[in-house]
Symmetry: D2
Subunit: 149 residues, 4 copies
């Protein structure tokens, strides 16, 4: 559906993801990178839970946000950087299971702002359950000086 501007989009996404130290801290891995679509998986760990033993909403938001950011980034020119502007998440069900799958897709890619949707599922054996959904805005910036403004 979408066409990447930069033929090296996948390696660019993978390199940037590898620099997100939080993803390593959480134990998340990038499992799919296509133009405008990114999937991230996260094994369940008790270190990431809220008070009832489910994955904390902030963990789910972290993974969905990174998935949205890289789905947007995959369509950006080679010299662009990506930043989250805002997102909204709805929690649909408690998140427990072997692992969490987050899948983000670009809804509209603009010159500076890109709108993404993303869904999170828990996977338990052959079972897949929707646990959260996100709608957010990612921004393309050129160069590091723009980021810190």
């Amino acid at each position: 559906m979408f066409q990447a501007q930069d033929p090296n989009f996948e390696s660019r996404v993978r390199e940037s993801f590898a620099r997100q130290q939080l993803m390593q801290t959480l134990g998340a891995t990038l499992t799919l990178v296509e133009p405008g679509v990114v999937e991230i998986e996260l094994p369940y760990r008790s270190e990431l839970t809220q008070q009832h033993g489910f994955l904390h909403a902030g963990v789910i938001a972290s993974v969905l946000d990174s998935a949205c950011g890289y789905a947007a980034f995959s369509l950006m020119p080679a010299d662009a950087e990506v930043l989250s502007v805002e997102f909204k998440i709805n929690l649909l069900a408690p998140a427990r299971g072997d692992r969490l799958l987050a899948r983000a897709e670009v809804k509209r890619a603009g010159r500076t702002a890109t709108v993404c949707t993303a869904d999170a599922y828990t996977l338990e054996g052959a079972q897949r359950k929707a646990v959260a959904t996100m709608l957010g805005t990612m921004m393309s910036v050129r160069g590091r000086s723009d980021i810190a403004r």
Copy 2:
């Protein structure tokens, strides 16, 4: 402004927060608990960053969400549990500094749904900079069976 229904609200909030393993994993501590108001602080650590070395939006969302949840929880009856229904976050500036301060306040406490706003600031010496703002809905549930619905 708000009156707690449960005189033991503070210990109830502190005990529940202590069970949120994610907060320990992130290194966050509860620094203020008043009826309808909660503050959480988080020292900056590179393990929590995104690709440019700033705190990941998901980390900020995690701390703001917990602050909102416990601000709502502080006003709930003694036998209630709290769950996040949804939240929206706007990132205002890159988050770097000695530590992050998240402050949540209840906007409207309903029988089942409580609406909260929260702000995140980075603190660096005497400098305080607003880096994010949240608007979200927290839900009161009775008993563990309701949670896993």
Copy 3:
């Protein structure tokens, strides 16, 4: 995909929509009612515009919100009423054209809260352009006394 609990869901939706005086004021009509899916159309009129002659974001939000509310309502029991709890809208492109089409779908139907997504398109001859997307929460209430609390 969804099964209606109330076999008379369509007439129940149509009767309630007919009582939404705002929909008449805007000139909106209900064009599709299926279990968990509702479409509303609105002809472009200059009375509904913002300062540049495009449909005002609030008009688009009004139609998307009603579509979400009735998509949720179509799955509720016969004695339920529906209220909007919250929604978020992203504007994707300026809205001009012959008419606006809003399509809402239920994402998760819960006992009290139902999460919906909705998209708005402008239609101009054979052209269809996405102009906005919504993610929101609708609530089921029983009886009028619950509504006014």
Copy 4:
């Protein structure tokens, strides 16, 4: 708190508001314009209601969105135009009363994106009740060609 860049900000806001035909259709008036702060009032009319006789959420969103847009616009340079990027609204209570008051304030004014918060109240005699709250992003664009992008 905020300083307007354009000394003629108030007349610029008032002229743009006068071109929003929807505001006239709804019967809304601009009651306060200060740097970064705007208030709009709307008398209750049954033509603007949902199925239970309360103001439709979309009407409240329309007025809050215009208030946010003009609060942002008041701080922009003289040659800028304003567009809504996205907003989220939480409905706090059914909206009935003599009139609705929407008050928006800029939270952070950026070069292109401005984040605003806004609250809506119903006024009935001396009574004031909070009925909704909004968090949204407004964008500054230069010239009409940018708008129709």
